[in-house]
């Protein structure tokens, strides 16, 4: 095997390529991460993510791309975290959208653990400060009351 073969063999296991026509119909897919039903309907209707970016995709010019990091994916038999990239390309003489899904589930799960710790400790600290302030005011107020 050549380097190129190793490269494509390695990449193949965590990347899915999906080709969609202008109207939102599936042209081709490689089913690496998940499979579509035998005759999928309009993907813009079936997949909310695609529905919400259909206007952006329509405006995308050939050669341009948009990318979305860290999408929480829940699609038929796959759930995990992916980065998405969309390209406008020429396919059989027509413009089509190439949707690339890169599975980074392990990496993002790891990141999630770290972020959870950071967020929890920041929130904890803030709430303690608020509590301290409230106690201070309560004491002052009750002090005023007893004096008065």
């Amino acid at each position: 095997m050549k380097l190129q073969d190793f490269k494509s063999k390695f990449l193949r296991s965590w990347v899915q390529f999906v080709l969609i026509n202008e109207k939102g119909h599936l042209l081709e897919t490689c089913n690496t991460l998940f499979s579509f039903p035998d005759s999928p309907g309009n993907l813009f209707d079936e997949i909310p993510f695609l529905e919400s970016i259909s206007e952006l995709l329509a405006d995308l010019k050939p050669g341009e791309e948009i990318s979305f990091p860290c999408i929480n994916v829940d699609l038929s038999d796959f759930s995990g975290f992916c980065d998405y990239v969309f390209y406008k390309i020429n396919y059989d003489g027509k413009t089509a959208t190439l949707w690339i899904l890169m599975n980074f589930t392990d990496h993002y799960k790891n990141l999630m653990g770290l972020q959870q710790q950071r967020n929890e400790s920041v929130i904890q600290k803030e709430l303690l400060e608020v509590e301290k302030k409230m106690l201070f005011w309560q004491e002052r107020c009750s002090g005023i009351k007893t004096k008065g």
Binding site: P48, E51, S67, F68, N72, N119, E126, L127, V130
Partner: protein, 161 residues
């Protein structure tokens, strides 16, 4: 298909964005905090005066400012729900600047401000805290007991048609 609208949820982490969506879409709530990373997309169709609006809700991982969030998440958003936590002043101290920069970035996207976790305040605290918030016109919500959650999303949907 009706009208499809991309709605993004913004605001610091831990303010209750994910809980608001779960309450709104699935009528569920959990006390346990599970941080969001990246973005999770859910959909809910609302009917307003016989108009169907399909709200595609982007529940985005919270940061102290929206500037730390990838641009593509915000790109093409039709509406914004900006959430603060009534108990944590840090989640609203720069809300004025955030509103200005969001309006510059997405000039046509209406913003609904949500003051969440209202269930944790007494009547007296509610009045006191809400009166002292910067800006006004917040929808006071509780993702926990569902108070005004529907109303907040409905308010935004109304501005989207």
């Amino acid at each position: 298909m009706g009208k499809s609208k991309k709605v993004i949820l913004l605001g610091n982490f831990g303010v209750g964005k994910t809980s608001l969506v779960r309450q709104y879409v699935f009528h569920q709530f959990s006390e346990e905090y599970m941080t969001t990373i990246g973005v999770r997309i859910d959909k809910k169709v609302v009917t307003i005066n016989r108009d169907e609006v399909s709200m595609i809700i982007w529940d985005i991982a919270g940061e102290s400012t929206h500037q730390k969030i990838p641009d593509s998440y915000k790109l093409g958003a039709h509406g914004i729900i900006y959430v603060i936590d009534v108990l944590r002043p840090s989640t609203y101290k720069s809300i004025e600047d955030e509103m200005i920069s969001l309006q510059e970035l997405l000039p046509n996207a209406p913003i609904v401000k949500v003051a969440n976790k209202i269930d944790l305040l007494t009547e007296k605290e509610r009045v006191e805290i809400v009166n002292n918030l910067p800006l006004n016109d917040y929808v006071l919500c509780s993702a926990k007991n569902g108070e005004n959650v529907e109303k907040a999303f409905y308010k935004l949907a109304g501005k989207l048609i």
